[in-house]
Assembly symmetry: C2
Homo-oligomer: 161 residues x 2
DNA sequence: AAATAATCGACACTAAGTCTCAACTACTAT
DNA sequence: ATAGTAGTTGAGACTTAGTGTCGATTATTT
């Protein structure tokens, strides 16, 4: 757990430097976020996971902590089409958001780490005189797993029909 | 109002063909959407605009109508970072969503009609084995107006200070 | 160890959106 | 043109994500 430990320390430092207290509730919230690094958790989910660590925490506290972490750019707040906010560790600390692949079948969210939009941002700035600060790019489609599942189902139908 | 008229007829036809009744509430909702083509209205805003045409309509009806229109791909339902659904006429009838420029200062939403992501989608499909059906791309930044405003304010400060 | 400013949890509240159901109406076929 | 009917409507109850309030608590500083 070396990597998590160092990230954990770094985040705690950031919080402290910004003048926030290091309460156990905040530490546990960060802990959960680090442990579920790959997921895109909602506030409710984070709340339940922190509570599951046999600790009490209020939902409002989770929201407040997430707000602070977003402010400090430790996490990103994302809203996909369902309108529910999800949170995403900003490990790379790039100023630009990475992209997401949202599966329409299973709802999974995969990340695309590279930033493919550099050229397009230049185009936007030139053609629309719009000063780009950040972007959100989500592809909607069918993930690898679901596509394979679909293929299997199809051949099942062919065999049985 | 030739263009609006023909769009209006087309939409009504689509509704009818899909087996939906052409109620005055639905017609008025479509009318509002056509009149405010450039805006990105929320359900609440559409509701008020329809009511303003000295007609009664229920909020639930607006939601239901918007759901149907989204289903039939006559409009697109968009959720930006505030989590409120906004609606957007799908005039071009391209299967792919156009892009948006969201100003962080004034909140305006501008459209980018071209689809700049063709190559990137190919990359995603190749590298991630993800079958892309659609995308959502929003640039966050400062629009032309606000940038100019900022410049003016700055020179004011210089003159007065 | 005491002072204190930040933080906490419980719960009331807001707001977007959905559900329910009795009343109504656009369409279809006569 | 009219009646029958399935789809639709509006009012308001409900759900759910998220915010605000406030008295009690606690991490930090001295």
């Amino acid at each position: 757990m070396k990597k998590l430990d160092s990230s954990f320390k770094l985040i705690k430092e950031k919080l402290h430097k910004a003048g926030f207290k290091l309460t156990p509730q905040r530490e546990l919230t960060v802990e959960v976020l680090l442990e579920k690094e790959k997921d895109h958790l909602s506030a409710e989910e984070i709340y339940l996971l922190v509570k599951a660590k046999n600790t009490g925490i209020g939902l409002a506290t989770v929201y407040r902590t997430l707000e602070i972490l977003t402010e400090l750019q430790i996490i990103n707040k994302l809203t996909f089409q369902d309108g529910i906010a999800r949170y995403d560790l900003n490990m790379g600390s790039d100023k630009h958001q990475h992209h997401h692949l949202l599966c329409l079948k299973c709802g999974s969210i995969e990340e695309v780490k590279q930033d493919m939009l550099f050229e397009i941002e230049k185009e936007i700035e030139r053609d629309y005189h719009f000063l780009v600060k950040d972007h959100r790019l989500t592809f909607h489609g069918i993930c690898r797993n679901c596509a394979e599942q679909d293929k299997e189902d199809e051949s099942d139908v062919n065999v049985n029909g």
